[in-house]
């Protein structure tokens, strides 16, 4: 009886989580002539892949896709590297000003990002970093580093301190010990943090709209929003593009979510 109730509840959660995604998929394969007539049917009487081929052949989405991949991958690498160093320092050292560093990182999570759009634009424009993928990477790396650092801290907490201390007794420098012994042990944590940052950078909309006006450096979210502001919204193409946009972020998240739970579990145990 309890078991039946649990399966019922989980099935409800699954349906709730997946239904909007299913609906996107359904709209993306519905032929245009059935879009409104069969708009509320669970599955159209005919399906088509023409929206996908149109998006890939007739729009700039392959370019946006490539731009998003470059920006998100570079952001994931840089933010994970910076966050690992900081997370390691948080987990292993007591140092003067530590509370301030943590405080600064917490404050970055508290304010509406809209307030810094104009100042960031004025900061990046003279450096030639607006309308460039590098500018986006810089901004996204800064945004994602604080949360990633707290995540990495909890992954490092799970690794016993004795390990690098033993290596240092044998003559290794701390950095050498960390690179050769500690980092390999935190690989799942690094992957989880990197995947998390990748997903966040992949989804970012506000700054890509404000900092980049040229299509050549547009990312996926900006391209998708371009569909909405057109006079005639092509629902089928837009949802096909949306489903394509979901693939990398969804895949990444699907693969890393259990490491996220593991990493946070370790952090919770140690305090």
């Amino acid at each position: 009886m309890v078991r039946l109730f649990r399966y019922l509840a989980l099935a409800t959660f699954l349906a709730f989580a997946l239904f909007p995604l299913f609906w996107m998929l359904k709209v993306s394969v519905t032929p245009d002539d059935l879009m409104y007539g069969e708009g509320v049917r669970l599955w159209p009487s005919r399906v088509t892949l023409v929206h996908y081929t149109d998006v890939l052949r007739r729009t700039q989405f392959p370019l946006f896709f490539r731009n998003s991949l470059i920006v998100s991958a570079a952001t994931a690498l840089l933010a994970t590297a910076a966050a690992s160093a900081t997370g390691y320092a948080f987990s292993r050292f007591r140092f003067r000003g530590k509370a301030w560093v943590v405080g600064v990182m917490l404050v970055t999570q508290m304010f509406p990002l809209v307030i810094i759009v104009a100042p960031i634009f004025r900061l990046l424009a003279p450096l030639g970093l607006t309308n460039s993928l590098a500018g986006l990477v810089l901004v996204y790396t800064a945004f994602n580093t604080p949360f990633a650092a707290f995540l990495m801290q909890s992954f490092f907490e799970a690794v016993p301190k004795d390990l690098e201390e033993a290596a240092m007794m044998d003559g290794a420098t701390r950095l050498g010990a960390v690179v050769r012994i500690i980092l390999p042990l935190t690989l799942p944590g690094l992957a989880a943090t990197g995947g998390f940052v990748f997903t966040a950078a992949w989804s970012e909309l506000l700054f890509t709209l404000m900092l980049n006006s040229s299509a050549a450096v547009s990312t996926f979210p900006a391209g998708l929003l371009g569909f909405v502001s057109k006079f005639s919204v092509d629902f089928g193409q837009m949802m096909a593009a949306g489903v394509l946009a979901l693939l990398p972020a969804g895949l990444f998240f699907f693969l890393i979510q259990r490491y996220l739970v593991q990493g946070l579990t370790a952090g919770a145990v140690k305090g």
Binding site: A17, T86, P119, A142, F143, V261
Partner: protein, 296 residues
Amino acid sequence: MSRRRLALAIEPYLYTAPSLLLIIAVMLVPLLTGLSYAFHDIILLDPLSGDFIGLDHFRELLDDDGFWTALRNTVTWTATSVALQFGLGLALALLLNQAFPGRGLVQALTFLPWAVPGFLSGLAWAWLFNPVIGTLPHWLHGLGLLARPENILSDPHLALWGPIVANVWWGIPFFAITLLAALQSIPQDIYEAASIDGAGPWLRFRRITLPLLAPTIAITVMLRTVWVANFAELIVVMTKGGPADATQILSSYIFSLAFQRLDFGYASAVAAVLLVLLLAYAAAVMVLRHALTEPG
């Protein structure tokens, strides 16, 4: 020897420096600049603007009905979204905390909404609420909850529920992930000992699970509250604050002040007020948490 000690002393700063420099340059300095705009008359594209005007924006704010409506909506939006995300996230975490066949797959699929870009979930839900291409109005009508299969996003009394539902859908995984992690760090023998002493499931939940989860709950609810209050994308994409400002929250109001009216000065003043409110809220939660976890 002293050189070695110096090297040891500066080591933690070397590890933290790259992150810190980046955050100061790209976030803190722009934040201070942005806050200074609140005291200036800054209209983008207007070369005559830029004067220091002191507290004028804040006086204007007191008489601005749009601001007060947005403030009320912010409280409703944030409290309702976070309460539902938390309640359902806790339920999901409890369900996933027990072994059953296929748990890994179910967990990955129920966590999936978090990977969906915010604006994309807004678009998907806006469709589901549209009676021409979505099913929800017809289902709600069938259940007797709506008199006619209409779009609730165009009804001022109901419209805020649209973005709230999308936000709950999107935010459940965050709570489920962190609470599941906290649940899995509770040693099983505590439960076994309590069972032997005759404690039933409800008593074990109330006396063991909840108290041990309390620190995690306080932190995640605080972080999420701040985050949801600042989260404008769903509202901008789904309703643009309408109809008749019924779904305008402070962060979407700031958004439209800045990018539709190009009034960056006034937008910054509203943002400064929001920031102060959120800092005060976070401080209150931390004080409360401290008082609760260290009795006496």
